[in-house]
Symmetry: C2
Subunit: 337 residues, 2 copies
């Protein structure tokens, strides 16, 4: 009845994202054996009680403020266990504190869940927290990913709204590299209601509407500020879309594919090496296999800029001592040589 009977540990499960993940794992029939973990035991108990009162058939949900108990035997881990972003903060403001949390998560996974098959990290800035988790976890790189879809789904949403077409009629929206201000928005491959993006840029109308170069810039600005906009509108950071998309990532891992959005992936070497960034991936039983996104020269130029931003952030974290220098990563995680 559920896609898997294996154990899923949800870290940060007292929070809005974490408790939503648990509900969504059950409502989408993805998983039913769930360990809810949060250091805030009182709120965690409340969140667990809510899930019990949902009375999902066959659910086996436990809660604990003991990280060892939560992670021991976990086949899958989804962690939203960072501090939330407040109005006015950039993702980067969260860097230091959340990296320390990611380091702890990685060390705990190494200690208690060394056989975890797939870990999804969704606290900001996810490229860096995911990388930090990976380094300290000792897991194979393909087994640690980060939620990277929301920039792309926000682009799809905004283009659909601009042209007044159903969201599904906008395909090929892909943003790669980092998130937020420094994401690389790929133009190549976008199709709106059957019309390739290059034709739209050349003036072709869709559903009676055109998209000028200026409007396209506005669309990009809009999605770069997508997270901040939710905070402004709702008075709280987004929680429904990150949780649902991370559940979809886990479901895709279990099914062996079928996830249509970019995922955070560790790039081992080459031009974009030694970072975790939004990339194309193939879901395999051994983990995600990353591929450098294909796009126009302009797109790849944007990706290089975005990569540079991630490297800068990564090196800040290294300088701050939350992450060892790249050359020392293999000491912590032999897979990263």
């Amino acid at each position: 009845m559920y896609l898997t009977q294996e154990k899923v540990a949800v870290m940060g499960a007292a929070g809005a994202i974490g408790s939503n993940i648990v509900q969504d794992l059950l409502s989408t029939k993805t998983a039913c054996r769930i360990a809810m973990y949060d250091p805030f035991a009182q709120g965690l108990e409340g969140a667990a009680e809510e899930i019990y009162h949902c009375a999902y058939p066959g659910a086996e949900v436990s809660w604990t403020a003991d990280v060892k108990e939560a992670l021991t035997g976990a086949d899958y881990v989804i962690s939203s266990g960072g501090a939330p972003r407040k109005e006015g903060m950039t993702r980067e403001d969260l860097l230091k504190g959340n990296c320390e949390i990611a380091r702890g998560l990685g060390e705990d996974i190494k200690r208690y869940a060394p056989n975890a098959k797939f870990v999804v990290v969704i606290f900001n800035p996810a490229d860096i927290t995911g990388l930090t988790t990976l380094v300290y976890s000792g897991l194979a790189p393909g087994r640690v990913s980060t939620l990277a879809a929301l920039d792309s789904t926000r682009l799809q949403t905004k283009l659909a709204q601009h042209f007044g077409v159903p969201q599904e009629r906008v395909t090929g929206c892909r943003t790669y590299g980092g998130h937020g201000e420094q994401m690389a928005v790929f133009e190549d491959g976008i199709v709106v209601d059957g019309v390739p993006f290059a034709e739209i840029m050349a003036g072709k109308q869709v559903n009676g509407k055109s998209l000028s170069a200026e409007e396209w810039q506005e669309v990009q600005t809009h999605i770069r500020q997508g997270g901040a906009r939710i905070i402004k509108l709702r008075g709280r950071s987004s929680y429904q879309s990150p949780s649902h998309q991370s559940v979809e990532m886990l479901a895709a891992f279990i099914r062996g594919g079928g996830y249509p959005w970019p995922c955070g992936a560790y790039i081992p070497d080459g031009e974009f090496g030694h970072v975790m960034m939004a990339a194309d991936v193939e879901f395999t039983p051994e983990g995600l296999k990353p591929a450098i996104p294909k796009g126009s020269e302009k797109d790849l130029e944007a990706l290089k800029v975005s990569y540079g931003h991630i490297v800068k952030l990564r090196d800040e974290v290294i300088a701050a001592g939350s992450l060892p220098p790249v050359s020392e990563w293999p000491r912590f995680n032999p897979h990263l040589k």
Copy 2:
């Protein structure tokens, strides 16, 4: 792919319950054509954007602060559109304000969605807001219901915790009549891990644990304060369980059954007449057919007490002018003669 393509209007969709309902309708694949309504347009837009960023395949979700637009053509309505309960408040404290909201909802349904097939009201106190909605909506009584499951799922949860058995091994938990302090907890029919409740009360152990009369009283006190307890633990009123259970009610209506919990139903006459209360129901295409719950003499005695409480509340609302006197209901709703 979704259980229905018909239109579902979710009222109060900017709130925690309402926005969770929309997500759960989609995640459970119950419905995809959803109109989100809330008078608070800014928060509503934020909630709708979150749903768009989830990128559910085939979803057709709109949002509007215009109640006419939301309800016109709606086949189903789920309303969480009341004021939330704050710490220390009883459900009854909410009575007056929420009854005025329910009256407005009923009048709007009469005006814009007179062909609605099924309406679920989930704002407190639901017995009274559901009744008020029914009277003013003009709909057949079986087409308006209220969420009534949570007391029963809380009882199931608590008994499972007491005996240390999986939640599913506790069956037959049913609370009827009103909610909160005045619910009628039925003992007849409860079975814990195969052992009927009467045997447990006679001293039989389950999983090495007994349940004394005093402990049983404590269990009941615990569930009577179930809603207040969530507020205490989480710092907010419950939203995940009410939304999931109301989605399950709608799914059951569409499927024609399969919902295992009591539902709020209008009782037209007899000993328990002229109220809406938690009862047994049969799901039919014409709406819910209520049945007076079966139980021991003691259980039915408790139901009478609970009924008396609902009647008292109802009469307070009538005295306050939010609801016409019972004798005048047929003028507002010809089905209620």
